[in-house]
């Protein structure tokens, strides 16, 4: 200890020693001791790590936490001493004004580069890199891209200005700031220009929104999506294209969805656990939940709607690419559309999903036949009176 103290004192001779005598060197010694003790810890850690590797796959233990705290403490002490040295010298040891100026420039350059890198590398993983899977997806993507460009320009310009000013106008001795409290012209333009840009976005957004939510094709196929903890069901309306009534008291009694096949329109309903939809056919999804709020999210189709118990919701869309076409375009034979739950709903929320398959009309028809209707009578009507016979040249049989 004493030796250390001497060594330190020697080293510190450059500094005015009379201020730095006992307290500071004590702190230094303490810091050094802690630093040296680190190596001991490091050895311990190695042994510990071996033991940990044997028992579990863990790579975290209390020692690391302890060392982290110690490091924080040591860093803290070092800079405390530096600041005291600065007080003695009447001049800070580290000139943070200059360093911050330079770091700002480094930050904005590296930051924007990283940002660009992200767009190139991770941008590919977003759904904008996939071909649009539904009729309204192109409109959606255009809206998104317009917003992205406008906000992107503002982002780059303002961030550059912010960090550039930080660098350029950092404190310099003898310079006085410009007294400039107001400029009405600037304020007016700073209001008008964002106002105009946002008007463009709002107007376009309103059109897209009303297109997506209010368009209804009368010939749309009615399908009910039923969510419960933690799975989904689909119910097809059958030949009459009308979903039968349900009774929530009967859920789990008559069937999972509480649809009594004897009720009006219900006989020909078909309940499945996969959602198949025919391509280029307007689909009118009706959502219903059993227990808590879920959210049916079909990212590839730009479709999402909450599924609320006791509150009917719906969404209208037209798939335009079959699963097979999408697989071919992506060159990924395993690709599947999905419907996933996007509203916190309980422990297995993270795996509450349903496979969505977009078939050609023939395939869809074939698949639907393999699923039984609620009653035999329904099946009969299903065969004799097809939904498609009314709306498209393709018939079920």
């Amino acid at each position: 200890m004493i030796i250390l103290h001497h060594i330190l004192s020697l080293k510190l001779k450059i500094l005015p020693m009379k201020y730095l005598k006992i307290k500071t060197s004590f702190v230094f010694v303490l810091a050094m001791l802690l630093l040296t003790s680190l190596s001991v810890f490091a050895q311990d850690m190695n042994e510990d790590a071996v033991a940990a590797a044997k028992s579990t796959a863990s790579n975290i233990n209390w020692l690391i936490v302890g060392i982290a705290f110690l490091l924080v403490f040591i860093i803290g002490m070092i800079f405390d001493i530096l600041s005291k040295v600065g007080d003695v010298q009447k001049k800070p040891v580290i000139n943070w004004g200059k360093i911050n100026g330079i770091l700002s420039i480094v930050f904005i350059v590296v930051g924007l580069a990283a940002c660009a890198w992200e767009f190139v590398v991770h941008g590919k993983l977003t759904f904008f890199n996939l071909p649009a899977a539904s009729a309204h997806a192109n409109e959606y993507d255009d809206m998104f891209m317009i917003t992205l460009w406008l906000t992107g320009v503002v982002f780059v310009v303002t961030q550059i200005l912010l960090f550039w000013y930080t660098y350029k106008y950092r404190e310099a001795k003898g310079r006085k700031a410009l007294f400039y409290p107001d400029n009405h012209t600037f304020e007016i333009w700073a209001t008008i220009i964002p106002g105009i840009v946002l008007t463009v976005l709002v107007v376009r957004g309103l059109f897209v929104w009303s297109d997506m939510t209010s368009s209804r094709d009368k010939n749309a196929m009615n399908i009910e999506v039923f969510g419960y903890q933690f799975a989904w069901n689909a119910r097809y309306a059958g030949a009459d294209n009308k979903l039968g009534k349900y009774d929530f008291r009967q859920m789990g009694v008559v069937n999972a969805l509480g649809v009594d096949s004897l009720k009006e329109n219900a006989g020909d309903d078909i309940i499945t656990s996969e959602l198949h939809v025919p391509v280029n056919q307007p689909i009118y999804l009706h959502f219903r939940a059993k227990d808590v709020i879920h959210s049916a999210y079909l990212p590839h189709f730009r479709v999402q709607m909450n599924v609320v118990p006791g509150l009917p919701t719906n969404f209208h869309f037209t798939p335009i690419l079959t699963t097979n076409e999408m697989r071919a375009k992506q060159d990924d034979p395993k690709f599947d559309y999905i419907l996933l739950c996007n509203k916190i709903c309980g422990s297995a929320h993270y795996r509450m999903k349903m496979k969505v398959i977009v078939d050609s009309k023939e395939e869809f028809e074939k698949w639907l036949k393999t699923n039984p209707a609620l009653t035999a009578k329904g099946t009969e009507t299903n065969n004799s009176f097809s939904f498609f016979s009314k709306t498209s040249p393709l018939a079920f049989n």
Binding site: L162, F163, D182, T185, P194, M251, P299
Partner: protein, 632 residues
């Protein structure tokens, strides 16, 4: 107004004679606003540390869903059996992390600390309008924090329906274990919290309106006070709605009513069939608070930043009146945009378009604020101390997060972005990081006022750089996850092939989060160490104009030893031409000014020469607009 001030003076002097301070009255049940602000701050910091540690736990889970961490079992016991985090407990963690951060740190910790500290000091008052209510406000907050922490240890775990606690999930104990006792305690805690927040808010508004010192006109208030006032007004108007909403939820949970429940079979809902309510009603009530809440969090941070940026740029804040105007506009608009959280709940699409319009309009005052910050920095003489860096960081986050808000505020775009990681990224940048930066900026700036010492500068700078890098590394990549359709609040992404590509990104984010965590420990060290060992502060360490720096370093009950100073000018007279020193405190009279209320120059305009041409340009502009609208 002056009458009130002098009245307070008299009261104070009367008090002085027989006022005896014991340990309890000084440190525990203190009625001194400065002590209460310290109490708020330290409770907030403790809660913030808990919230941050929680986020590190679930970040580990998200990065390594298939790895076992024995530490989880040590720390969490049953919830981390075999080193695997329980999915229900994951949900509990994100719920409590959100609740703590939004309410306990960024509402009470931020607003409670700085409103309490600065309102009396900056308007020139001896204390709050009602010191007793102020004390109650803290102790309600403290009780509320204790209840929230206690809820971590009950059977079934803490509330786990997300911080927005949407029923039926939060109403049905059968749906998730956290909706049992944990949720009851959550609601109790929230009700206590709302009481605390209302007591505080009423006090702040009353103090600002009634107890300003002589000469402190509303147009001479620092922007901090403007921001705190509007924050308090927002809180007073919106928190009671959540109070009502929470009570109804308590009824639904405990007394068998059906305010928020419809078509729930008896076996799911405790033996009573629930029909006739609406789950969406709760969302309306919640977000009627919830959206103003975002501004309750953000406005104080913006106010603090305005003050710090002006002081450390040695320049008046650019567009003082525009700043006040935009605070007012934001506050007003924040009440008519709550529906943008609910675009896809099945709300009438027309309603959606109304909320979308309101939401995007908010971008205009926000843009004005940003431009004004840039305008203030322009040609300044920036002292890049930690608080200034944090203020600049706030502006950076405000831009980044604000711009993604334009995507989410657009109802059409929200369809595919709602509840994805894009939302997580957006609000963590604009509300989380920005407001935390505002809070840290305030702590570094007013630490000398609070504790009579300064924090270590270098540690502050290291804290800043580590935090900003970590925050951007954590939240920026999340945008891309969101754009790939990755939903938030997922325990793991292992069930989806297309989300596997984000494994590396998740690991990277977790590393960045740990970097941020270490940075916060550096801050904590600096904060607590400087309290005793920091450099002794001088009276006005930042050479600032506002009144709090005219009080002595050592705290005394009643703030000023003699008379309360009078105010003669606005708070932003920095680098006034013709003055040797680059700041003129508010209590310095203009040359020849005797009556504080007279205004030799309302707000100094920069150059007299420019003004007429500006007027002309404006006139031309307005004539054009008028002509275009067909008026002329």
């Amino acid at each position: 107004m002056s009458a009130v001030a002098s009245h307070a003076d008299v009261l104070h002097h009367d008090d002085h004679g027989h006022h005896k301070e014991t340990f309890i009255s000084k440190y525990v049940f203190s009625m001194d606003h400065k002590m209460i602000s310290k109490q708020f701050l330290i409770t907030g910091i403790i809660m913030g540390t808990i919230g941050m540690l929680m986020s590190l736990v679930f970040r580990l889970q998200l990065a390594y869903p298939n790895t076992t961490f024995p530490i989880f079992e040590t720390l969490l016991g049953e919830w981390g059996k075999g080193g695997k985090l329980d999915p229900n407990f994951y949900l509990a963690l994100i719920t409590i992390h959100g609740t703590i951060m939004v309410f306990f740190v960024l509402t009470a910790g931020l607003s409670g600390t700085f409103s309490n500290l600065l309102i009396p000091l900056q308007v020139g008052a001896r204390d709050m309008a009602s010191p007793f209510l102020n004390m109650l406000s803290y102790w309600f907050f403290f009780t509320s924090s204790c209840v929230m922490i206690a809820s971590l240890f009950v059977q079934g775990g803490p509330a786990s329906a997300g911080w927005t606690i949407y029923p039926p999930l939060s109403a049905l104990p059968k749906a998730i274990p956290g909706s049992g006792t944990g949720m009851t305690l959550w609601l109790v805690s929230m009700i206590l919290f709302i009481v605390s927040s209302l007591l505080g808010g009423i006090n702040y508004v009353a103090t600002v309106l009634n107890m300003r010192t002589k000469g402190m006109k509303m147009t001479r208030l620092p922007l901090t006070i403007w921001a705190f006032t509007f924050t308090a007004i927002l809180g007073i108007l919106s928190f009671p709605v959540l109070f009502g909403g929470s009570l109804l939820l308590v009824f639904d949970r405990s007394f068998g009513t059906s305010f928020y429940l419809n078509e729930i079979p008896a076996d799911l809902a405790g033996g009573i069939e629930r029909v006739g309510g609406s789950p969406i009603l709760f969302q309306h009530l919640f977000w009627f608070l919830g959206h103003p809440e975002v501004y309750i969090i953000l406005l104080p941070a913006l106010g603090i930043t305005s003050e710090v940026i002006a002081t450390n740029s040695r320049k008046p804040i650019f567009g003082y009146r525009a700043m006040i105007g935009s605070i007012m506009a934001i506050a007003l608009l924040s009440f008519v945009v709550w529906g943008h959280h609910m675009f896809i709940t099945g709300m009438n699409p027309f309603l959606g378009s109304v909320f979308m319009l309101g939401t995007l309009i908010i971008a205009v005052p926000s843009a004005i604020k940003t431009f004004n910050y840039l305008g203030t920095l322009w040609k300044g003489n920036l002292r890049l101390n930690p608080q200034m860096m944090f203020a600049i960081g706030l502006v950076s986050f405000f831009i980044s997060g604000g711009l993604t808000g334009i995507f989410l505020g657009n109802a059409a775009l929200d369809i595919n972005l709602h509840d994805t990681y894009f939302v997580v990224a957006h609000f963590h940048l604009v509300m989380g990081s920005a407001a935390i930066f505002g809070m840290l900026c305030g702590i570094y700036h007013w630490y000398p006022k609070m504790f009579g010492r300064t924090m270590n500068e270098s540690l502050g700078q290291i804290h800043f750089w580590m935090t900003i890098v970590s925050a951007y590394c954590v939240f920026f990549p999340m945008h891309f996850m969101g754009l790939a359709g990755v939903p938030r609040r997922y325990y793991a992404f292992t069930a989806y092939d297309q989300f596997n590509v984000f494994v590396d990104m998740n690991i990277f984010i977790t590393y960045a989060a740990f970097l941020g965590g270490i940075a916060q420990f550096i801050f904590l060290f600096n904060f607590f160490y400087s309290m005793r060992k920091g450099k002794k502060a001088v009276q006005n360490p930042w050479e600032s104009n506002t009144l709090e720096w005219t009080t002595p370093v050592k705290h005394l009950h009643g703030n000023w030893p003699g008379e309360i100073p009078h105010v003669y000018r606005w708070p932003y007279d920095y680098s006034v031409p013709g003055h040797e020193i680059d700041f003129i405190p508010q209590n310095t009279p203009h040359e020849g000014q005797e009556d504080p209320l007279t205004e030799p120059q309302t707000i100094p305009t920069p150059e007299r020469k420019v003004a007429p041409t500006l007027a002309k340009e404006e006139a031309v502009l307005f004539t054009l607009v008028k002509r275009w609208l067909g008026f002329a």
